[in-house]
């Protein structure tokens, strides 16, 4: 079966096209997935900066009630899984989850270790390095980032504050967004790519198979039947075919003519005897 002319024509085309389309789709999906995750992280970074800037006034005036309200309200937003601000020692000062306030974070926990890996904590980190993805205690897929709250002149020059100018970071904002919309978008994109790939494969392989059948396999089959009948001594018309097949038909016609004349000669000789 795999050695027939049809198989030899169709199998390499099928394997080549299928393999190439699958590899292209997987690579494209991986690139698009990375791009979409990076977009979410960039969005979260901007959101974190917006929150830090929005809370700056309340921080400078040590208005903890307003700050707590801002954090709570942001936490009620759909898709926001958690928002928390913790101080330099890792103590949670404000959180959208009330039970968390006052707890101390482990420096080796995800989201902290990125800066606290070395003996001296890193003061700056790239957007992508600040991000982490995990399943929270409710089993939700979360993409979170930690954004440092820097000590600015307005902070250490204010009369009411105690921060020194040398202190670079005052605390950290940690915000986590649900990854469900991203996962849904990726699933839709994956399904669309599978449908597109199957359609491309069907069109390509179906097209090649149909054309081969129409212009090669059917004329060849007719020629095979013709030669078999000729061997049996049945006189018949040469079947039609494409240019190359017609040339082959012409050659077979000459051979058959020769064969028939030899047969007639033989018959005459036999009659003569």
């Amino acid at each position: 079966m795999f050695k027939s002319l049809t198989a030899r024509a169709i199998i390499p085309v099928t394997v080549s096209v299928t393999g190439f389309v699958i590899v292209c789709c997987i690579l494209l999906y991986a690139i698009m997935k990375t791009d979409m995750i990076n977009d979410v992280i960039r969005y979260e970074t901007n959101l974190a900066q917006t929150i830090v800037k929005s809370t700056r006034y309340a921080m400078r005036h040590d208005d903890r009630e307003s700050l707590g309200n801002i954090i709570n309200n942001i936490g009620t937003q759909e898709g926001v899984e958690h928002v928390r601000i913790f101080n330099k020692r890792g103590l949670i000062m404000f959180s959208s989850t009330p039970g968390e306030v006052g707890k101390l974070l482990d420096k080796n926990a995800a989201g902290c270790i990125e800066c606290h890996r070395g003996p001296v904590p890193a003061a700056t980190l790239g957007d992508m390095q600040q991000a982490r993805r995990f399943f929270d205690e409710k089993g939700k897929d979360v993409i979170a980032i930690t954004a440092p709250i820097y000590n600015e002149p307005a902070c250490y020059q204010a009369a009411c504050h105690v921060h020194k100018a040398e202190q670079k970071i005052l605390g950290t904002l940690d915000i986590g967004l649900s990854a469900a919309p991203l996962v849904n978008n990726l699933a839709v994109m994956r399904n669309q790519m599978v449908i597109f790939s199957v359609m491309v494969l069907l069109v390509t392989i179906g097209g090649v198979a149909a054309l081969l059948r129409r212009y090669v396999f059917i004329p060849l089959k007719l020629l095979v039947e013709f030669t078999e009948r000729t061997i049996q001594g049945i006189d018949q018309e040469i079947p039609p075919g494409g240019t190359e097949i017609e040339k082959l038909s012409g050659n077979i016609r000459s051979i058959v003519r020769e064969l028939n004349s030899i047969r007639r000669e033989n018959a005459k000789w036999k009659k003569g005897e």
């Binding site: 390499p12 393999g19 699958i22 590899v23 690579l27 991986a30």
Partner: protein, 179 residues
């Protein structure tokens, strides 16, 4: 089968030097058949090697000891994932074209082990850039395509060549081909 051929020649009174040539030709033909069978076996071994490599890559080479920081520093930073993916795409495209052109020309050349080497390179580059889990199936599909196509081509080529050699053997044995 072969003895029958020799007896047949003796019965017809063939001169001894002709018989020697026939014997030599038969030995060469048998050696060619063995060579062709070995060729296809090597291709199958290459596919098996690729499967073993893929099983190791599926777990991100977790059971191998990881390089320490010094060796990593010597190796330098890995190329970007997009660059590795572009090279993988270029590799599968050119490999498919090469195998199809070999099929067209009826050449018996093959590069099974070489392909496994290239694919291992892709696995290792993705592993060192930390993106192997996302791109494992791309490399696996590329390997399955290239080795599958190469295996099919070699199977057809070896079958045809072995058939031809058997026809020579049948001729030497004084039997009609195909018997």
């Amino acid at each position: 089968m072969e003895e029958r051929g020799v007896n047949h020649l003796e019965a017809e009174g063939v001169a001894p030097d002709f018989r020697e040539k026939h014997d030599r030709l038969r030995r060469e033909t048998l050696a060619n058949i063995r060579k062709l069978q070995r060729k296809f076996t090597i291709e199958l071994l290459a596919a098996a090697l690729f499967l073993l490599l893929s099983i190791a890559a599926l777990s991100d080479f977790a059971f191998f000891p990881s390089f320490n920081e010094n060796i990593r520093a010597v190796l330098g930073s890995p190329p970007s994932v997009n660059m590795i993916s572009s090279v993988l795409l270029l590799y599968i495209f050119s490999a498919i074209l090469l195998i199809l052109s070999r099929m067209m020309s009826g050449s018996g050349k093959y590069g099974g082990i070489g392909h496994v080497g290239y694919l291992a390179g892709f696995y290792f580059f993705y592993h060192f850039s930390g993106k192997l889990p996302e791109n494992f199936w791309a490399v696996f599909a590329a390997g399955a395509t290239v080795l599958g196509l190469e295996g099919y081509h070699l199977w057809i080529y070896c079958s045809e060549e072995i058939e031809r050699e058997r026809e020579v053997l049948a001729f030497l044995a004084g039997r009609p081909a195909g018997q």
